[in-house]
Every structure is written in C-alpha cells, then in structure tokens.
Symmetry: C2
Subunit: 349 residues, 2 copies
DNA sequence: ACATTTCTTGAAACCGGTTACATAGAAGTG
DNA sequence: CACTTCTATGTAACCGGTTTCAAGAAATGT
C-alpha cells in the first residue's frame, strides 16, 4: 500500500510539502503541486484515515449504535441520519449492540478514536450504566430515550401524545369500549403508548377499567388478542394496537371471523408501516416519521460538533393520525399540526 | 481524553508494560497486571482505535458500500452481513454512494485505513471504473454484480433462474398469454428477470412475441400497467411483475376493476416482501433471501481475510417460488431444491 | 558458588499522516 | 546595495498506540 512518503519521493519533495499540496494549502507552488498530484495519481495513493484521524483530532465519521438491525424501523432511521450526515461530509459507522446492556458498552468502546460523535439508541436499561460507559468528551445524542435526566441531548417520538390522540379520535368517532393490545412490557415505546391510551380513557371517566390485552409487537400476538375477544365474547367496539403488526394480525382474524371492520369493531395501529395502506380495509394508524427522527438527532449532533454548547434538551417529535378504512369515517384524515409540531419540523430542514 | 501513557503513569509502569497488560500478554506479573487494569478502570481508559489500527495492520472493521439506504432490501442485506460480522468480532462501516459512480469512488477512498475488507454493491456502471478505484490490496467482495470478468469474488441472486421458474410455473398452471411488467432498464436485476421471462416464453414456442410492459419498480407503475391491460382490453391471463411493489399496484387496480384474480388473470411478483403475504389474495412471488446473500458475501470476505486465496468465483444464490393466492392452485408451494442450490446453502452456514 | 537460561520490564522505534518551527532564497524597501 | 519581509520548502516532533530489542532479575543447572 502506497504512503505519502512514496508520493513525496516520486515527486521529489518532502513529505510535508506532499501533505500540503494534497490538502490544498495555499503556500505551495503550482508546479510542485502538479508534480505531487501527478505522483499521487500515478501511485494510486489513498490516504490512511486512521493515521489522519490521529493527528487532526477528528475522523469525519460519526458512530451510530442501535439495539438491532432488524426491519424497517432501523432502515428508516439510518436513512434519515445518513441524509444529514452526507450533506455534512460525514461517514457513518454502524454498530449493533444486540440488545444487551453489555453489548452497548462494548459497541460504544469500539467507537473511541473512530468517530467524532455518537448517536445512540440505548436499550431499555439503567441510564446510570449507560452514562458510565460513555466516553467523557464525545458529543452524543440519544435517540428515543427520555434522557432529560442524565444531561445528554436526545430526540424521541412523542408516543404518549400519539396514543392519546388516537384514543381520543376513536372515542370521538363514537366508540365506547376500546381494547388496547399492549406491546412488550420492557419496551419504552410500548409503555408510553399504553400510558397515552389509559390517560385518554380516564379522561372520559369510563366506569369500566380500560381493557388491556397483552402483546409483544408480533403479528401473532395481534391475532391471539382478536381470538380472545371473539372467544370471550367481550363487548368491544374498537381495538387499538400498540403497533401496526399487531393491528394487522388482529384485523385478519376479525375479518375471517366475519366481523365487520370498522362497523362492528374499529381497528387502529401505531407506526404507519408501508403495509398499513395495503390491508383490507386500509389500516388507520399513527404516523411516525422515523427518518425525521434520525435526521433531527443527526442535526443536533452536528450542532454540538460545531461547538454550540446547547442545553441537554429532549426534543419530542409529534406523530400524526392517519385515519383510513379500519375506523369509521367521521373524519377522513386528521392531522394535529400544533404550533410546537410545526416549529419542530422547520428546525429539521 | 485519557491515553495509555496516563494509565502507565498512574500504575507506575512503562507504556509498553501497560499495553501488554491490557492486551492480555502472558509475560506480565499478576500484580502488575492488576495495577494496570485498576488504573485503566479508574481513569475510564478506552484505547484509541485509530492509533491501534495504525500499528497492528488491521482495524477489525469492514466497510459496506451500498447504492442507497432506502427500504427493506438494504435493511435485510445489512442484517445478514451483520450477523456474520458480529460473530467474527468485526465492526461495520456503512457508506452510501448515492447512486453515482463518482460517489462510489469517494466512498471507497474514505474506507482506506478504516477497514480490513470491503463489501460493495456497485451501481450499474462500467466495471473498469470500479476496478480502477479499488484499493489494490484490500480484500473485496461484490454484491449483486456479475463480476466473474473483473477478477473479484462476488455474490448474487440468480434473478434469471427465478424469473424463468416463475414463468414456467405460470405456464404449467395453464396460463397462455402472460404479460411481464419490466423494471427500470438500467437495473441489472430487472434486466435479468426480463431475460428469464423471455427465455421461458420462447421455450414454449408461442407464436406471439412476449408481451412486455414498461415499469420502474414502483407501485404506481404496476397500477398503470394494469390500467393499460384493462383499457386496451388486451387478452392476458397472467401478469408477472418484475418486483412485488408493481405486482401489488397491479393487483389493486385489477381487483377494483372487478377482475377475478387469479381465475381471470393470475398475478405474480418477485422479492417476497413482507407485504406480499398480506395482500388479498396473497401474492404469489419469487422468494429471495437478501439476508442470506449478505451473510454469504460476508463469509466470503472472511475467508479472504483469513488468507484463503480463493478464486474469483461468482456465487449465485437460488431463489424459490412462493405460490400463494394470486395464481391458480395447481401447486400450493413449489420449491426448486436443485443439487446446486442445496450445496450453496450449506456453504453459507 | 558460578554459568546459563528464562522471565519481566523499560527505552526506543515505528505505523502514516499533519504541523510547528527553522531556513534559504526571492522579493520589497530605503 | 544592504537590509528587512515574505514565501516556499524541509526537518523534526507529535498524535496514541504496539512491538522489537536490550537489560536486569530471577530461576535453573552443574
């Protein structure tokens, strides 16, 4: 592999001059610069980024640490991150922590010296452990973590508001007995969505305690919940699943059982996965802009890198309701462009 | 940021000893090792990977250069790559070339010194340009590129065989006039699929030239093709789309027009995206294991890294037919476990 | 007891770049 | 023409690790 010394020797100059010529410094004669660039091209010289990042105290790369690389959520998130990172000329270093807190620590350690900043979507564990393993001086933004407490800026979807808004929309469309298919108990998003649902139900002061069915975000869990409802002959006129996959599973079973959706039972999900538009009827859901969240996190990190010592804010992105065929049609498509939401969106662009 | 010299000083030893103690060399006293690890823990020492990769001539990371980061294809691919990479203790460095050949070059250059090997999914351009920009000594595997010619190992889906098999299955189920919705002309996969379709049609010696409709892999293109068929009143008893999204778009329009699928017109796609199981009727398609392809590519790269100087083979992964509701039910699910296919799969594990 | 081998440790070189400082020659000034 | 200022280039130090080599200490053999 050719080094800058090879280039310098071939061009008949010192390494210092070669370095300056290649990096476009002004204090180098045109003739010399030409010789150096020619030599570099001839030898197919590519600078060694590791060595480079050692002297300049930066690597022009940022690390992204995710709990998993599965499915569309991840894909969208990375897409949003990449869009902003690419504009800023930054490379992306991806790492999978494979769920465990232990994995998070090793993944983060592996980033030291490779990246200028960190984007972390931590698993649902002890914040103290996370902070302990964070490189002290490395700019960091947390994704989807309620981290106001631990003094690190973060970006998250407002799951609570989204779930609450959907529940209120179902109530407004005339539903009385709404069942919620919950997500995994150890999942932050799921807990927040549940909380939003419960609070909305409390609001209307239903004498019944809100009906909550267990789930784990899988299609099968949604199907199982639907079977429970049918078999138990539970009086329910709407099902609000904590994510779209469960809603899809639920919808299929209800339909197969001959239950009319939305007239007998309305169905709603959360996430607005691409599939949601293609079920029959099309699934009403809460639209979350994952890519926007990634972009927002990256923008926040960029600001930190540029030295803005911004406070450890927690940016909450507002989701929007997408009312489609599985809920009755009082309103076709209802958005909630609150002033705050609008401002948020503008900041991203 | 604390360095190994800080650790050495705190532990009262030289940097050499500190390095040895931390890297688990045997020739260091237990007492000294303890002092060093204690000091490292106390100072929250994390080694600088850049400096590390400079002396050891490796970085324990591999670069993945992709044409885009959009959607599920990418996500699945990275998942497969990560699975194998993680087992081997390797980091993943992702880069988006943003479609252009120019972008490919810069992305690849940025990898120099950061990675021990390269996984590239090149855009559909001149192979010579690609080779010219490849670091000479860096182990590389190409993904989805017919690169037997340019002396670099590669892994690809056998789009030709898959398309041919599906077309033959449609013919076998009694369809006579099959229309193909083609993908973008500048897309390799699309061209191969078209070729498979055409060859299969030639085989049966139809007097008509095979009916080919233009498309661009989008849902709307599929819908447009369906409208064309309906409006033109074309005598067609099957539509084979070059990917699932077009098949989905086509299916929706046909169904809305009151055409019975599969009895009047059968529909088939390619890819087996998750959505395919959820359309109504469920979409028959060609199942490609993207994740497996990523894993295979990574395995091939690992072999290269371990010094096996394997020949520049082109591994072809065989897809399988998934016959569902949108084709008539002569056979429910037909696999083609050829001897070659079986061997291929075993090699991956 | 002394010679020889083995083991632990430290000093210094090195990986491949960048940059502070020194220097020599060119250009500018009175 | 002698003096200063400026500019292009080279020398060497440095970034933060790893590793070779040498040396001293400890263990072993005779």
């Amino acid at each position: 592999m050719t080094t800058i010394r090879d280039v310098a020797r071939t061009a008949g100059v010192s390494v210092a001059t070669a370095s300056r010529a290649l990096n476009g410094h002004l204090n180098v004669t045109d003739g010399v610069r030409q010789r150096v660039t020619d030599a570099a091209a001839l030898l197919n010289y590519i600078p060694h980024s590791g060595a480079r990042s050692l002297t300049r105290q930066r690597s022009d790369a940022i690390g992204v640490v995710l709990p998993d690389l599965f499915g569309e959520y991840f894909s969208e998130l990375v897409r949003g991150i990449d869009k902003v990172a690419h504009q800023a000329g930054l490379q992306l270093l991806l790492s999978n922590m494979h769920g465990s807190a232990q994995g998070t620590a090793t993944a983060i350690r592996a980033m030291r010296g490779r990246v200028d900043g960190l984007l972390i979507m931590p698993p649902d564990t002890d914040p103290a452990y996370l902070v302990a393993n964070l490189p002290p001086k490395l700019p960091t933004v947390l994704i989807n973590y309620p981290a106001g407490s631990i003094g690190i800026p973060s970006v998250a979807i407002d799951n609570y508001s989204g779930a609450r808004a959907m529940t209120e929309a179902l109530l407004a469309s005339g539903c009385k007995r709404i069942a919620h298919i919950a997500g995994p108990r150890d999942n932050r998003d799921a807990r927040e969505r549940l909380r939003g649902f419960v609070d909305a139900m409390r609001q209307v002061g239903d004498e019944h305690s809100p009906l909550i069915l267990p789930g784990d975000f899988t299609e099968e869990a949604g199907a199982e919940a639907a079977r429970l409802i049918i078999a138990g002959n539970v009086a329910v006129d709407a099902v609000f699943a904590a994510n779209d996959m469960m809603a899809v599973g639920c919808l299929a079973v209800l339909r197969d059982a001959g239950i009319d959706v939305p007239d007998q039972i309305a169905v709603a999900g959360f996430d607005d996965i691409p599939l949601a538009r293609h079920t029959y009827p099309a699934l009403s859901t809460v639209e979350v802009h994952i890519a926007d969240m990634g972009a927002a996190a990256m923008s926040l990190l960029l600001a930190q890198l540029q030295g803005d010592d911004l406070p450890a804010q927690n940016h909450l992105l507002q989701p929007a309701l997408m009312m489609r065929g599985t809920t009755s049609i009082k309103q076709k498509k209802m958005r909630r462009p609150t002033a705050k939401n609008q401002r948020e969106k503008r900041e991203l662009s």
